[in-house]
Each structure stands twice: as C-alpha cells, then as structure tokens.
Symmetry: C2
Subunit: 322 residues, 2 copies
C-alpha cells in the first residue's frame, strides 16, 4: 500500500483495528448498519478542541478516552445502550505516529469497556489546534429514552457520583492545586460516563441529563425543559474526599463544584416514592446516587440554598464558549 498517501496509511494502521460490524473496514464511503430491531436510535455529537476541552499535553490515551466518554455520557443521560460511533480528527500536520497509536490505544480500551466500536469517520490535517468530533449512536426501547422534560414539582433531585472533581481536576492538571494521588486530574482527563446507571434509571427517573457545563447551569436547562423550578441544598451536594481536601486548603475553591464543568455525572428527577428503588439500582451498578434537593412549582430556574434555606449567590453562569 506504499502508493497510498499517508492519511490512508494512518487510518489503516491505527483506526481500522477499532472498526466493528457495519464499518466495512473503513474502506467504503459510509458505514452500513442494521439498526437493532424494535428499538429507537439515540444519537449525539460532541467536539473537543486542544487547549479548550483538553490540555494539549494530556496523555494521548486519555484524550481519545475523554472524547468517547463525553459522548457516552450523553447516551447515559438518555438511558441508551451504546452501539457505535463515528469520529473525525483534525490533527496538526506534524503529529507523530506514536501519538496517534497511543490515542487509538485509549479508544480501544474504552471500546472494550463500554461495548461499542468505530463505524467510520474522517481524518484531516489542520494548521490550528487539534480538533476532534465524535458522533455516538445508541438505542433504547421505543418511548423509553430519559428526557430533560419530565421533572415535576415535588420530585426529588438526584445526582450520581461526586461533583466538582472535573473543574478541580483541570486546575490540578495545570499544577494549580495539590493532587498527590492524581485523583482529581484523572477525573478531568478520564470522565466516568454513568452508562449503567442511566440504563437502570429507565422507568424510575422522570427526567435526566448529564452535568457537563456546571451543576447549577445544567440544572437550569433541566428546569426550563420541565417547566418547573429546583432547589439545591448546597451541603447535600456530594464531594469526593479529594475535592474536600482541596477546598480545605483553599476555601476560595468552595463555589467551584456548583459552577465548574466537566463532571459528566447524571442529574435526574424522580418521585420521592421511588427513592428506595433508585438507591438499590445505583448500589447494584456500584455508583453512588445522592438526593441534593427537589423540584418546585414556579419560575423554571435553579436556586442554591444554604443550611438555613437562604439563597447562595454564585459567580454568574457556567462554562460558555462565546
């Protein structure tokens, strides 16, 4: 194949081994896929830019995994089973073959962990920062997808895992705070998409989404979609031990979990009567689920309350690109 230009060799060497059923070995114009019978497709796309969504000197393995995992997190939020993905990569022209090999190795590991494979994509060169885009496909039973619209006044507000590690982890990855065991930086670089929990919440949660742009901002989206308000008890928001330790050293970091991004946890609503079932479902998949507040009638916005019920003011907004 030495008469082929380098991009075809690159695809053949690094990405073809990731190809699954329907990908046609990445040698055709498109993938051909029989959709799972009697299921609806769930499809999402996310893009990442070096220096914006990941650090250019992050390990290549974690960059591929983060790209796949932020998309898996969207499937998790819909309660969908992963099926496959297409990926476009705009690489700087001086990229090294070994870098791409490690990037692909990270994807290969996550393909095994989450049970999906690459269906297609495109590889181009760019004079700018590395820019990656991934479209993920999953499937659900008809009508079963978890949606943002569906929370009702009186529903409990839940969150999975711990909040704030991603935003603290970005600072740790930049060397701006101590992170001796690398837990926080790891949470920034390799999010944990809550796919198993999302599947378990189908039929239990009335609404769900993933937290990617900051807890309070994303909850605001869920409130607007559902047409009701929400109150979050600041003290109830689950923090990891590492996050507590970092905040103890620098109390100025205290607001970060409420407005920082990159959590990739699930935020969901459910009637109080479902609380035990939710705890059991979460325990069964080994993911913590914590009630952090409730939905209320009225203006569709999210309020953060302290232990006395007074509203806590936060720095405005979450993460925005413009």
């Amino acid at each position: 194949m030495s008469d082929l230009p380098p991009e075809f060799a690159l695809i053949g060497r690094h990405f073809r081994p990731l190809a699954g059923e329907g990908a046609l070995d990445l040698t055709d114009d498109a993938a051909v896929l029989a959709p799972p019978a009697g299921r609806e497709l769930v499809i999402a796309a996310d893009a990442m830019v070096a220096g914006v969504h990941f650090l250019a000197d992050d390990p290549p393995e974690t960059i591929g995994r983060k790209l796949l995992r932020v998309n898996l997190s969207d499937l998790a939020a819909m309660g969908a089973v992963p099926l496959g993905y297409l990926m476009t990569t705009a690489f700087p022209k001086d990229i090294e073959d070994g870098w791409i090999a490690r990037f692909a190795a990270g994807l290969a590991a996550d393909q095994r962990e989450f049970g999906l494979s690459v269906l297609g994509g495109d590889t181009v060169g760019t004079p700018g920062p590395m820019t990656l885009s991934l479209t993920i496909l999953g499937h659900v039973a008809p009508g079963a997808a978890l949606r943002r619209a569906g929370a009702r006044p009186g529903d409990d507000l839940w969150v999975s895992g711990s909040i704030g590690d991603g935003a603290l982890g970005l600072r740790a990855a930049r060397g701006q705070l101590p992170d001796t065991d690398g837990f926080l930086a790891g949470r920034y670089r390799v999010p944990q998409p809550r796919v198993a929990l999302g599947l378990a919440l189908v039929g239990l949660a009335t609404a769900a989404m993933d937290v990617s742009d900051g807890l309070m901002q994303d909850l605001g989206h869920l409130c607007r979609a559902s047409g009701c308000g929400a109150e979050v008890l600041a003290d109830a928001v689950p923090l990891s031990d590492a996050a507590r330790a970092a905040i103890a050293v620098d109390p100025g970091l205290r607001p970060l979990p409420f407005g920082g991004g990159d959590d990739y946890e699930l935020l969901f609503a459910a009637p109080p009567a479902k609380a035990q079932e939710i705890q059991a479902a979460a325990a069964a998949v080994g993911i913590a689920a914590t009630r952090i507040g409730r939905f209320v009638a009225g203006h569709p916005a999210a309020r953060l309350l302290d232990a006395k019920g007074a509203e806590v003011a936060l720095p405005r907004g979450g993460w925005s690109h413009f």
Copy 2:
C-alpha cells in the same frame, strides 16, 4: 433566555429552526429517532477546516452547503436516501452573528433541496481556524447499498457529470484563472451531490464511490476494494465547457482533472449489458453519465491511457493531508 450563555442563544437562534423530527428541539442530550422500518442505516462523517477544505472568505452560505453536500455525496455513493445529520462547529470566538445566520441559511436551503434536517450536534469555540464536522444518516433496502468492492473485469467504468471543475474552481476562487461567469468557483464552493443518480444506480452498478480526492487516486481505491485493475481513456473523461476553456488558455492545467480533488461526482462500474439502462436512468434524473474506461483483470491499480493506448504519467497521487 437572557440568563443563558451566548452559545445557547446562538444555537437557539440559528440552528434550532433547522431541527427536524427526532432532534427534540436540540434541547436534550441526544436525538431520538425511530429508524425507517425494514431499512439499513448508512452513516458517514466528513470534516472541513478553513483554509484547507474551504476558503475562509468563501460566502458563509456556501460553507454550510459544502459541508452538507460532501456528506450527501457519500450517501449518493452508497445509493442511500438522506435521513438527517448531526453537526459540530468549532467557531473562532470573534465570529459575527450575521455570519452564522448566513451559514445556517445555506443549510436551510439545502435541507429543503435534499429532504433532511438537523438532528443534533455541538457548538464550541476555537482559537484556531473554523473547523466543521458533519455526520450524515441515510437508509437503504437491506443489502442494497452500493459498495466499492464489486467491480469485475469487463465492467464498464462510468463517471457522472464533469470532472476537474472542483480543482479548477479552487484556482478560480483564488483568482488564479479566469472564470467570468463563476461556474468553476461555484463548482468548488457548492458541489452537486448525485443523490438521485446514486438511488437510480441501485441494482445496476456493481460498485460505486464518490470522487473527492482526485479521479485516478479514488479509482485506485475502488480497484483495490474490488481486486481488479481499471483503464481510463483520458480523452473520454467528461470536462465542462468552462474547464475546457480554462485548459485552452493554460495547457499546463491539462492533468488537473485526473488528479485534482473536490469533484463529488460518482464513479461506478456496471456490466456493458446495463449501459442502456444506465443512460436512461441518468437521463431520467437529469445527470450526465459517461463511460470513461473499463475494468480489467490483474494488478488492482488504475491506469490512464491516451488515444493510442499508451499510459499517461501524472503527477504523483491526489490530495493528501499528511
């Protein structure tokens, strides 16, 4: 919605009006789509970088249309019916709202022309050149997708439309050659995906692909996939009047149609017995189809021949990113 960060306002203002069934108004984590019953999905993704795949000062309308059309061309090559698309956009932070409005207007026009709508995507900022990625979904009858593997020795080699306009059009758009009526630049900026012809070729063509990286390079891919060789008669390759005029002025451009990219025509194989049916099918959809050579047994490579049957040497390779 004034409490939302600007990217959400941008999406709501410009992209939500493009959303179709299943897109959930672009307000959820993913699209939910019931796949057409009894059909296979055909899925492709292509990326474009400003300064690489389009000119940064191209009209915004044509950039959106080109992005959609290069992907529609992949569906055309598989004989698939367009269904929908997801798009990720990495925009420079100083992008103007009016620019995005025009970009979206181009997409809206092509959605109407080709009968599909946006299902989802992501909008991010970039410190680098604008980088766009689109994943397109289509559908075919089970087993009916046109593939690259399938050409047999003795099959005719066909091409749709005219070849070389895209590569000449890039030079015209840069002001490097005369193009008084803008035909060539138009062919570079707004390719014509041969969707209707691709659909008509199902059951007639033994193999097909779209020509995006250059006629001879892409034919080489088709030869390798099919395991046979191909001979192209240089004089038979269809050129537009504008291309002929440009080459008459500068004979140095003569090799360009054989190796230049951005044609987005269909290259396909069919037994000679199907020639009349193919001509009739092409005429019915108003797209020219021209026999430019044949497939032969032996080494899976493409050879370009002059009127005397002697091989024509070309500058090496087609377009490559690395």
